[in-house]
Amino acid sequence: MLMKIGIGFLALLTALMGTAAWAVVQSGVAYVSVDDPSEGVSFHVPVPLVLADAALAFAPEEDLRQARRELQRHAPFLKGALQELAAVEDAVFVHISSPYEEVRVFKKNGYFVVDVQSDRESVHVSVPVEGVQRLMGSVAAW
């Protein structure tokens, strides 16, 4: 009997983890990474967008309405720009290089990436374009 309960529990746990993993994969994961030894700053944070989706459910209604109004005001541009960004091939949009720093803004494998490497700091931000599209769609209700 105990074994059956254990197996059932494991099956449930596996299903929940699988569902969570599927949701994370579907919504994508944003990464933020900053290293600035001179300021003693160093953090590397993966942010599953599914969490942002979930956070929307708990956001104050007035704040959501405000965000929705702002997004809807620029809806044609934002929707179009995100659609184009999702559709465009992988490419480097901006590349600045000097002896002191290197800045790259590019799209790769569905991610929009900003990468800054300099003598003093290192910043890396990547966000899944389609995940952001979905998130904005949820907020703006378009």
Binding site: V88, A91, V94, S97
Partner: protein
């Protein structure tokens, strides 16, 4: 210096995004190089985004699209329209020949292009060519602003591969600015 270098391509992106086609697969490229400081800025802009960006620029231009500055003189869009109509009426025409210091630049109307070009020996090597229908479109309408959307539509018919709009080389600093369109996303 790199910040100044960024301003140039940003301004150029803004201006040329205004005038470039929303043709599928077309890319705007900007290259700014300074040999002395070993600084390089490369911008590759999908032209399909240009048309989307245009209304935002028009809405938030805050008067920046209502006049241009030439030799420290500000000209309104209405004044530009009048000048342009008079120039076109003359046909192929040398508009101006500017000799200043080591620079010797000619501005002319040549067939279907408005040309800005340096003469041999000029310190700055300049080669700018803008199709005249694009200028027509940019100055069309009755608004007191440059007509970005119309310019975009007009230029879409000129979307050929590797079409160089601007090529400037500063002889002293060996600085180079090049703006062109192509069907490749990389330079």
């Amino acid at each position: 210096m790199i910040k100044n270098a960024i301003k140039i391509p940003f301004l150029a992106v803004t201006l040329f995004a205004l005038t470039l086609p929303a043709a599928a697969g077309q890319w705007l490229h900007i290259l700014v190089e300074e040999e002395g400081s070993q600084e390089t800025v490369r911008v590759n802009f999908p032209l399909t985004l240009a048309k989307l960006v245009a209304p935002m620029i028009e809405e938030h231009s805050d008067g920046d699209l209502s006049q241009i500055e030439i030799n420290d003189r500000r000209l309104t869009v209405q004044e530009l329209r009048e000048i342009w109509e008079r120039v076109k009426a003359e046909g192929d025409y040398r508009l101006a020949s500017v000799q200043h210091g080591e620079n010797d630049i000619v501005v002319a109307l040549e067939g279907p292009f408005l040309i800005v070009r340096s003469r041999e020996g000029s310190r700055h090597q300049v080669d700018v060519q803008v199709p005249t229908p694009i200028v027509d479109a940019l100055l069309s309408g009755t608004s007191d602003q440059l007509n970005i959307s119309a310019a975009l539509d007009a230029l879409s018919t000129y979307a050929s591969d590797d079409f160089t709009l601007v090529n400037v080389v500063d002889g002293h600093d060996r600085a180079k600015v090049k703006v062109w369109i192509s069907q490749n996303s990389d330079q």
